[in-house]
Structure formats: C-alpha cells, structure tokens
C-alpha cells in the first residue's frame, strides 16, 4: 500500500491491467520494452499466482512438468519493473466516469488507461447435474490441482469434449492412472483442428494408450449420488456411463461480465477496433475476452499479436494495427504429433496434396489454392509444420516447389534466382 501511495502522487498517467494471464502480461512486457517509464502500472489478477504459461497446464496434469516449471513471471519480476501487482484480487466494477477499478476487497484503483485481459471461462454444458461435486473444468492451476488430487482416489473419469483441451485432459488423467472415457458429441475427435483421416489416426493412437471414446454422445444429464457427488452420465440415446469424476472441456466463453457491467459495448466478446481499443478509448482489451471483426480467439498466438499492437498504441507509437492471421494448432500429448494450420476442410476451389504412410501412421495434407498454400494438416510427422505455417502466412507462390512441398523444406529447392521467395501479399 505504501507503493500505492507513492504512485498516486506521481505525475505519470496510470495504466491498469485487469487479468494477468497470457495476453495481458504479454502486453505489459511489450510495453515495458517499448517505454519502461511512461506509466504508473498496476496489475489486478484474480489467481493466486504470478504469470504462468497456461498452455503448459496439460504437461503438468500429465505429470511431465511441475507448476514451478511453467511460471513465467514471479512476484519479483513485478517488483523489479515497478509494477504494482494485486495478486488474488478480483476486479468487480469499473467506474468509467471516475476512471477507477474496484476490487472484491474494496480497493479502488484509479486509471488513465485500462487494459482488460480477462480471458475466458470454461463453458459448462447446460444439463442437470452440471454443478455436482467432482464435475470440474480445465483452465487454471486450481483446476489442475483439483484433478490431480481427485485422481488419487477416484478411478473412472469422463472428459466431455473431444477437442484439444479435452484430449489433453484425458491424456493427463490417463497418465495419472485413471480409467478415462472421452465423450464427444460428433463422429470425429478434434473435428475443428483435423480432417477425418488425421482424426481417425489420432483416435487410434489414443485408444492404444488406453483412452476410451464414446462418439456421437450427447450428454442428457449428469447423475449424482446421495453426497451430491457425480456418479454417472446419461446420454440422449439412452447410453449410460458410470464415472466418479467429470471434466467439462466443451469450450470457453469470453469473460466479459466486468466489461458488460460498466456498459462497454460487447457482443460475444468485448468489441475492439484494430488497435485493440474498446468503444471507450481509455479502455483496451486483448486476448480471449475480445471480439475483433466478429471473431473470437482461443489460442495464444493471436493474443500475442494483439498484445504487440496494444502495447504499441499505449506507447503512443500508434502505427501498428491488428490483422487476423492463419492459425496453427499443435496437440501437446507426448508421443503424438498433430498439427494443423489455415483452412483445410472442404475449401472451395482448392486442391489437396496428400501423403500417407499407413504403417507409421504418418499423414499429411496440404491445401493449395491459387498456387498458394492455405492449409495444412499433419499427423505423425509435424516437423515441417512451422515451415508450412510460414508459407501459409506469407502467401508464398509455391508452384515452383509443388512437387516436393509436402516433404518439407529440406526437400524443396527454389529455382535459381527465386531463392528468397517474397510473400505474394507483401
């Protein structure tokens, strides 16, 4: 509080962050490198931890990493950078007229500029019993600790949702010795990230690891016992599954309640312009809580891009604009290589180059449109994912190397003169 007093007396404008997750903290880091002294900075973070790498929660759950391993910025870092860190404080209100943020503990923190980086909250499917004991989600360190603890005395887990998060949760729980069933509403897992072939290969591999799958299974209700603990799942088609733990990995919803309550324009997310400003020019938003040109975000990369633009604007350099880019996803399950980027499912007027090694379980698909790579799905051998992603982003004309493209950079030789292909869009 002493610092607080000092800061308020300073003549510098006050910058406040709500949320110290991946996008918010990246914005802060970018800003500090651009202009370390421009603002008096405060960060309000609900979690009881410094800033950590959320995406590494999966290896933590699988027992491959510890919480310490995945910490990015600890308390000392905030101190060193003269950032006031309100750890474990939840922002509950914003007064846009007085320009101040109120926390659950009643602190009032004035701002000149405010950055909302509240991320998103896991979506709990609206079925009876979704709030029973031992029905969990997978978003933060507390969730991971809960799961780890339960896995020690429960045996049967269901993970609802066969997306990236669900599969990583299932794998982690399986690694902890649980008997895991993935419950998926569609006929193919990871149906948004992979095409049918890759999805099938992935399912085969996961089944070999002992994970079971219940496909086309729409959950009707979650059943509890006398102690209000979960004991089973009932599906719309009459199937049932006895479990003593459920993880919901059925997607996330931008965390916009705070923004909404102060009257900021929101749709599904906080609406922002190309420099990440909300309808209130003093308030910025980045990361999963935003909606930019109609689009929501669920990955780190766009959050980082937004962070760069936002920091740039806060530093009043004012030239950067955020544009959405193709996205690459990679599944983080040890021993499984899956990668996808760009558009790869039934892209109109496109051609698909495929490579398939059934015995090794290697599969690659490149989607070509107008001599450019627009999408890629890789399974088994994802070594060249990064390079393909680069080609997609740079919209390179790949026609000179089309014959060899799928085999990766090492096998492609640009014809003389064109050794450094320029992005077509540059």
């Amino acid at each position: 509080m002493r610092h607080h007093a000092v800061k308020t007396e300073s003549s510098k404008p006050k910058l406040v962050f709500v949320g110290n997750g991946m996008a918010g903290t990246r914005t802060l880091e970018e800003l500090l490198t651009l202009t370390p002294d421009k603002y008096d900075i405060s960060v309000i973070g609900e979690e009881h931890f410094g800033n950590y790498n959320r995406i590494m929660l999966s290896p933590v759950l699988a027992g491959e990493k510890t919480i310490e391993n995945i910490m990015l910025n600890d308390d000392e870092w905030y101190r060193r950078n003269n950032v006031v860190f309100y750890k474990g404080e939840q922002a509950v209100a914003i007064d846009r007229v007085k320009r101040q943020v109120t926390t659950r503990n009643g602190k009032c923190i004035p701002y000149d500029r405010l950055v909302l980086a509240t991320g998103s909250t896991p979506f709990r499917i609206p079925v009876p019993g979704n709030d029973l004991t031992n029905v969990l989600t997978f978003r933060d360190i507390d969730d991971v600790n809960n799961m780890l603890q339960l896995s020690r005395h429960k045996q049967h887990a269901a993970v609802i949702g066969g997306g990236l998060l669900g599969l990583e949760a299932a794998n982690g729980l399986r690694k902890q010795g649980m008997d895991v069933t993935v419950v998926h509403a569609y006929d193919a897992i990871l149906n948004r990230q992979l095409d049918k072939t890759a999805s099938r290969l992935l399912q085969d591999t996961l089944e070999q690891k002992g994970i079971r799958f219940l496909m086309n299974a729409a959950t009707d209700s979650i059943q509890g016992n006398a102690d209000n603990e979960v004991c089973g799942l009932n599906f719309k088609d009459g199937r049932q599954l006895a479990v003593d733990m459920v993880v919901m990995a059925t997607g996330v919803q931008p965390n916009i309640s705070l923004a909404k309550s102060c009257g900021l324009q929101c749709d599904r997310g906080i609406l922002v312009n190309d420099v990440m400003q909300s309808f209130d020019p003093a308030i910025y938003a980045v990361g999963e809580c935003v909606q930019h040109r109609g689009q929501l975000f669920g990955l780190v990369a766009p959050g980082y891009d937004q962070a760069r633009v936002c920091a740039n604007h806060l530093a009043e350099l004012g030239i950067a604009r955020y544009t959405q880019k193709a996205l690459a996803t990679q599944l983080k399950i040890t021993g499984i290589q899956a990668f996808s980027a760009g558009q790869f499912d039934h892209v109109p007027d496109s051609e698909e180059i495929t490579f398939f090694d059934g015995q090794l379980g290697h599969y690659k698909k490149l989607v070509i449109k107008d001599n450019q790579l627009v999408g890629a799905v890789l399974y088994g051998d994802t070594q060249d994912g990064g390079w393909f992603f680069e080609l997609i982003q740079q919209q390179t004309d790949i026609s000179p190397i089309r014959d060899q493209l799928i085999f990766g950079k090492d096998f492609c030789q640009w014809p003389e003169q064109a050794t450094a292909p320029l992005p077509a869009a540059a």
Partner: protein, 880 residues
C-alpha cells in the same frame, strides 16, 4: 577350382579363368596366358559371373508351353521336321543359328541340314555381322581367310579403324592398340566413322565420313596411291589379277577434292590420310560392321583390300586388311560352313567339293545348291514356303532388319523350334517347342576368334535344370530322324575330331583351312587344348597368311575387284530426311539376354536412346533427355533423346540392343530397312532413312522394385536390372484415369501401398510398398514434364534396395524421390567396373584439382580396370 575358358561376348575371344569357390560361387578373371588378352578383360567380360544366375533360364523342354521330357521333345521336333519334309520337301525347313554357338554345335547343325535333310537352309546371325567381309575375302583371296593377327595391332605404324568403334565393341583390342601407341607415339591411328566415337580418343585423325561413301574414299586412295607412284608394281604383277579393271573403276572417284566433296570431309583431312597410307609400309586396316552392314558391304571390303594388294600389304607384319568379327564364334561358324552359301569347311557348292563332302559324310542326299540367307529366309517363312524353322541361340525378332515382319513370320510358321538358354525372348514367345540349351559357363567346345585362334570354351558348371549342349540336342534329333549312324557323337571332342578331319580335305586345294593335326586329339588333349591359330600343320607359321603372295585361288593369285561407289539403297528424302545408324554400346551385348542381367553393365546407358546432333535436335524441336518418336517407312520406336555433337548433323544413332524383354517400343530393328548387299546378303543396318519428332506422353512414371515385374503394357517402357532391384521407366499416351489402380497394376500387387502421395492437379501419384520396413516397390507417376520424373534420384532410390530396413529419414524422403540432405548422390555411373559415378568424379576433379585421367584413377580407381571409361573421364576433365 579353376577352369580355362573364353569370354562369351565379342570376337576378341579373351581367355577367361572361371574360379569356382568352395562355397559353390563363381568368379571370373582374365587368363594371363591367353594370347588374345593376356589377363585383361573389359567391363562385359568382367561381369560374366553376374550372368551365371538361374534368372530367366529355360530349364526344361516345353511343347506348346507345357513341360515335356527330352524324349518327347526330341521326338516331336524330329517327327514334325520329317513330316514337313515329307509333305513339302527339304526346302520347306530351315535352321537359323548363331555366332554364339560353339564350333561343335555349328558343325552338327550344318551336317544335319546340308548333309542329311538335304537343304542348305541354314544361316546364321553372323550374316548380320560380317558376311560382307567373308564375301570380300573370298573374292580377293579365294577363301574366307583373315590374313592378320592381333600382334599386328601392336607393330603397325598406321592403324586405320574404319566402321569400327573398337573402344566399345572390341575393348581389349582397343586397349592393346592404346598401349602400343603409348609405347611408340609415332604410331598413327586414323578413325573413319560418321560418329565421333569413344575410339577417337586415340585417333590422330578422325574422318567423320558421310555414311555409305566408303567405296569412294578407298577408290580415291587407290587412285592416289597409283598417281603418287606408291603402288607395288612387281607385287601386283606377280601375285595379283584384275588390277587394271579395278584401277579403271577407281579413277572414277576422281581427285582428293572430288572424294572430299562426296564423302563430306575436309579435303586436307583426306589428303593427310592418303599421304599417311601411301607412306606407311606397316599399315593395318581394321574394319567391322560400319563397312559390312551395308548394301555395298562386300564392295567396301574389296575397296579396302584393293589398296592393300596394290601396296603388297597383305599378311605381312603390321600390314593387312583385318576384319574384326563381332561374335565370339562367328569365325568358327564360318569354318564349319554355317552360312547358307557355304558347304562345309570352306568348301563350296561345286561338283568337286560336293562329291568330297558327301563321300566324307556318307550323305548321298547332300544339298546341291546354296540355301536362303537370313533376310530371305524369314521372308520365305512369311511367304509360307519355309514352314519349319529351328532358331538356335539367337533372337531374330529383335536383331533382323524390318523386325516387325520377322515377328509376323515367326507367328505364322507352321513349326517354330527355339533352343536357347533364356526362357523368354522376343523370339521364343512364338515358339511351339522350347529346348533348354546350356549357357555360357556350362557350354563345352571350341570357338575361333578374329585372328583365327581356336580356344577351348570349357564349362565350369553343370548345365542348369535339364539344359543340354546344343550339339547333343542336334545329335539326338538327327538320330530320331533316322540318321543315328551318321551322328555317333558322345562327346564334344568326337565332333571336333570329325570337323578337323573334314578340313583336311582342303589339302587337295589351295585353301588354307586345315586343322589336320587336331583330328587325332585324345579326349584329354582336347580338354587341355591350348589356344592355337589355324592352319594347324607341322612346320607352318600360322600367325599370318598370304605373306608369301600365294593365295587360295586356283591361280594362286589374289584378285583385285573393280568396285564403284553406288550410295545407299534407301537415301534420305524430304519425307524421311534423317539417316538412322545403329550399333552397339559398350556394356550391352546383342539383345541383352545376358548382359542385362549384370547390374554393373546396366548403369552406363540404362535406357534405350537416340543420339542426335544439337542442331538437328533444335530443328526437330527435341530436348535432351526427353522422349522422341522415330519413324521409318518400316516401323517406329520411342526413345530417350541424347543430344551430342559427336554425330553428324542429320544423322541419328540408336543402339541395337533393346527389345521387348527390357523395353516397349524400343526395338530399333523394326525400323531398319530390309535392303541387303547383293553378294553377301548382309543388311544395311547402318543407314535407314527416317524422321524424328518429340513425343509428349500424357503421363510418365519411374518404378523401382525388388521384384522382377512384368513390363507394363504402355507406349514406352524400359526395364533396367540393378543390384537387388529392377527399374522401370514408363510413359503412356492415354490419359490416366485411376492412377492408384494403375500404380497397383504396374507394381503387380493387390495390396494397398504402404506409403502414398497424391496430387490431384497434375495428376500425380507416388506410392511405395514396404515389408518389414524394407523397400519392395516404389513408383512415381506424373506428367511427362514434371519435376519428379526428371529429378527422382534413381541412384539413391536404387541404393535403398540393398537395405533390410529404411531408416526414418529415408522413409520420409522416399516418395520425394530425393535423397535426404547431407547424403551424397554419386550421379550416373561412369566406371562400371568400380561403380564410380559422374558426380563423384566431378567432385574429385574439383576438390583435388585433378587434371588427368590417371590422377582420377589413382584417387577413385575409375578407369583403371579395362579403361574403357577413360575417354568419358577425360570428357569430364575437359568440361571442368
């Protein structure tokens, strides 16, 4: 155990030691004691052990495709021949034999046909190779006798190599000339050949003569010799006849300028050649197919011989006209009389010789008139006048001109019997009866090489399966036809002794062929027979013939023959503007039935190709390494274009070897015109008018497989055998619809590919089948102009078949067709013996700053065995 034998391939007749190791495997080495090669072997000879496999061998007699016993097969052949002879007379049957047969085989075949069947319809593939030389020698010397010896190659001061790519076709003789020239640099070599062949490496002068004009060149030489007073008047007067007439004819060739214009040569080069010839007493003129395979081949031979007679240079040390024969036993065939226009043992169809031979054979039914020569023979089969033909050890469906017509003839023959060591050839495909013959390494008998040297060819191995010696097969058929008492042979020596006794009849004539002393050999002496030149008589120096000026004619004098240049039979025309030349390449033999089995030999020139001058290629819109269609009035072929300025403009060169067992659409014999020399009957294989155009296939493919797969039915195909694999280069005109199905069909499998690559646009697909991690088959299909077909690294892919299992990076790279980075690709094989590739050599040249071939050899061993790749290594050095 060591067995002494001779090489199965060319007429050099190199001595070979076959080493049989304790584990039963065999290896082959040059015989240091053999006077033809003194221990050296060329790439073909060195690879002979590779051909000693059971692969593709015919193991059992077959009648109509079904396995039969020898008894059944012998009986069937004998009774069918007998029936046809009874119904249509002896002229309705024929034998077509081969310079690959041993003298003993030839002898029995000749005796059976001419003596007992009573027809002279026995001809040989030597007809295609040196029958013009035979006819020329006979016209000039009264007998088919080669006056020279290999030693002359070393002691001559001027060697004229005309129509002979000695470097590739007689590699060991080339090596002998080359070493002699290195030792005596004053020795001069003139190469006369429309192409700048590998032989030109040692040439002091190369005359890139216009095809077919050789008579004019040598008539001009005779003219020049007389005009410059270099003729030997005394010799001509004492030992020759017909000089004036020959001179009169030669004068028409005109002066040097006129000759140069006609032959399309620089006058100064012609003058230099004439000058050297005039001034050099020890002049040896070696000639081969370039002279012989012509509608004027016999006249060309005599034009050469005329010049040697005019200067008295016959049968003298380092001085002779010297025919180099193609096949290992072409000479042996000539000696027994295995040509339709000879009777036996250099005797003729004249009353006196007929009487002698029929008495010797006790054969009252002996044929009285010459029979049909090769081309006429198959024409007669096509026409139905010859109804039964027995083909032995040769492949006329490939090697004869107008081969398409030959195939028709074979298809409609009432009876086609084929004896061969290989089961499936383009000819055997049509046979009703297949008889398994012993192959090289198993065969037992004698051969005669280009210098009249008889050597034992002695088998080291038991014949595979039920294969038998050809003489034995013939003897059994003769017996089954009722001639048992006249064919009492139980060993090869029995046959040889009778042959030698028959040659003794020549003692009553001026003829030289006389194996007199060999007629009494015991079995053991025969077995141990050291290489010997004929005539084999006491106190007779057989190294050279006619040095004393006494010839085999009745008068004892040599005959000049008046010859005049008459041009090719089918000149080029506006419709057929290019001249097609055919010939051998270094590492293949004939129709590849054996050489194609030896992986190192397939690496030098893996695909059938057509060579063309860059200017002509540009005129015709052709690109190097792309495919082209060649057409002549007789047929067409599709071949890979090799652009090279070693050819004259307007001319094409195509190797003679490829056929349906190793390719599709590449049988060049189909295009070759059927014109023959009126005297020798030898076809004009060196000049066919034709045209060429680019051929753009709808799709192309390259496939490699561990398995010996059938050649897919498509417009273009070449199959190449490598170590542990076969490679297939394929292309087609029809739009491919289902590439996956097509690939499976090519790979001859129903199994799903283990690895599959597809690109819908091109269309392109690549797939591979692996088992237990090892590569079985891989195939790449794409449009003709696609990078994958042009750039797939065939050498790297080939290497994968030697591995029990592919490692991860290899497996990943497999369908890219590109070796994974960091692994070096050694390029096209240059040195077949040591498997050294072009890129390896280029790299060594650059990195070690090598400047001569010897240095390359020191570093990489390339070119240090037979050295026949040295000229190519030099080419690489020069290009750097």
């Amino acid at each position: 155990m060591v067995n002494r034998s001779t090489c199965a391939y060319c007429g050099v007749g190199c001595g070979i030691e076959i080493h049989t190791n304790s584990d039963g495997s065999t290896s082959v080495k040059g015989d240091f004691e053999h006077p033809a090669n003194f221990g050296k072997l060329c790439s073909k000879g060195s690879s002979l052990a590779h051909t000693l496999t059971g692969e593709g061998r015919l193991l059992h007699p077959k009648i109509h495709g079904l396995r039969a016993s020898w008894e059944q097969a012998t009986h069937y052949v004998a009774s069918e021949f007998t029936r046809i002879i009874d119904e249509h007379g002896p002229q309705a049957v024929a034998f077509y034999v081969s310079g690959q047969l041993l003298t003993e085989d030839y002898y029995v075949a000749n005796k059976l046909m001419k003596g007992f069947i009573g027809s002279a319809n026995i001809d040989t593939n030597s007809r295609l190779c040196m029958s013009s030389a035979v006819a020329a020698y006979k016209r000039a010397f009264g007998e088919d006798s080669v006056p020279a010896s290999y030693e002359d190659l070393e002691i001559a001061d001027l060697i004229v190599l005309t129509g002979s790519n000695t470097a590739w076709c007689h590699p060991i003789l080339f090596q002998r000339i080359k070493s002699a020239k290195a030792a005596r640099p004053q020795m001069k070599v003139v190469v006369i050949d429309p192409r700048r062949t590998a032989t030109c490496e040692i040439a002091d002068l190369h005359l890139a003569i216009k095809p077919g004009t050789d008579v004019a060149l040598f008539n001009g030489l005779l003219n020049h010799l007389q005009a410059s007073g270099k003729t030997d008047a005394q010799y001509i007067q004492q030992h020759c006849e017909g000089f004036e007439a020959a001179m009169a004819s030669a004068r028409q060739a005109g002066d040097i300028q006129q000759v140069a214009t006609l032959c399309d040569l620089p006058a100064s080069d012609v003058a230099e050649f004439y000058q050297w010839f005039a001034d050099t007493e020890r002049t040896l003129t070696c000639f081969s197919q370039g002279i012989n395979q012509s509608s004027q081949g016999t006249d060309k031979g005599n034009a050469i011989i005329n010049c040697h007679l005019a200067t008295g240079r016959v049968g003298k040390p380092g001085a002779s006209p010297f025919s180099l024969t193609g096949q290992p036993n072409a000479m042996g065939g000539r000696e027994v009389g295995g040509l339709a226009n000879q009777l036996a043992a250099h005797m003729e169809f004249n009353p006196q010789d007929l009487k002698q031979v029929s008495e010797f054979w006790q054969a009252p039914n002996i044929a009285r008139t010459p029979g049909l020569k090769a081309v006429d023979l198959f024409d007669a089969v096509a026409a139905g006048t010859v109804k039964a033909v027995w083909v032995m050890g040769t492949n006329p469906a490939v090697s004869l001109p107008n081969a398409g017509k030959v195939v028709q003839a074979l298809q409609q023959a009432e009876l086609l019997v084929v004896s061969d060591c290989i089961e499936t050839t383009d000819t055997s495909t049509y046979a009703q009866v297949l008889l398994p013959a012993a192959g090289w390494g198993e065969k037992d008998g004698t051969v005669t090489n280009s210098e009249r040297r008889i050597s034992r060819q002695k088998g080291a191995l038991e014949p595979l399966g039920e294969a038998r010696q050809d003489w034995r097969i013939l003897t059994d058929v003769a017996a089954a036809m009722g001639f048992a008492e006249h064919f009492p042979y139980t060993t090869a020596a029995d046959v040889f002794r009778e042959h030698a006794r028959l040659t003794r009849l020549n003692r009553h004539s001026p003829r030289k062929l006389d194996l007199g002393n060999l007629a009494e050999l015991s079995e053991q002496q025969y077995d141990e027979l050291a290489p010997v030149q004929w005539p084999v008589l006491d106190n007779m120096d057989s190294q050279r013939l006619y040095g004393d000026g006494h010839f085999s004619t009745d008068s004892g004098k040599a005959r000049f023959v008046a010859v005049a240049y008459s041009g090719v039979s089918h000149p080029v025309s506006p419709d057929w503007p290019l001249a097609l030349n055919t010939g051998r390449i270094r590492d293949q033999w004939h129709t590849m039935t054996r050489t194609a089995l030896a992986p190192p030999l397939n690496a030098h020139k893996p695909e059938p190709f057509v060579e063309i001058h860059p200017d002509t290629a540009a005129d015709m819109g052709l690109e190097d390494q792309k495919l082209a269609r060649i057409q002549s009035p007789w047929g067409s072929a599709i071949l890979r274009v090799n652009v090279t300025d070693s050819l004259r403009r307007g001319e094409l060169f195509v190797p003679m070897h490829w056929n349906d067992q190793w390719a599709r659409g590449a049988r060049i014999g189909e295009l070759v015109n059927p014109a023959v020399d009126p005297i020798s009957g030898q076809p004009e294989s060196k000049h066919t008018p034709c045209r060429i155009e680019p051929w753009h296939p709808q799709w192309s493919a390259v496939m490699l497989s561990r398995d010996n797969l059938p050649i897919p039915d498509c417009d273009y195909a070449a199959k190449i055998r490598g170590k542990h694999f076969y490679r297939y280069e394929l292309a087609g005109d029809a739009t491919a619809t289902d590439l996956t199905a097509q690939a499976q069909q090519f790979a001859d499998t129903d199994a799903e590919p283990s690895v599959l690559y597809q690109d819908p646009r091109q269309p392109a697909m690549r797939s591979a089948w692996l088992d237990a991690g090892g590569l079985r088959t891989c195939i790449y299909i794409g449009p003709g102009n696609s990078g994958i077909i042009a750039n797939a690294d065939r050498n790297w892919l080939s290497g994968l078949f030697g591995k029990p299992e592919l490692d991860a990076i290899e497996r990943k790279a497999l369908l890219s067709g590109k070796s994974p980075a960091g692994v070096e690709d050694c390029g096209r094989t240059i040195c077949a013996c040591f498997g050294v590739g072009e890129k390896t050599i280029l790299k060594a040249i650059r990195e070690h700053r090598l400047t001569d071939a010897a240095a390359v050899g020191k570093l990489l061993k390339a070119g240090t065995n037979c050295g026949s790749c040295v000229s190519e290594i030099k080419g690489l050095l020069a290009a750097n």
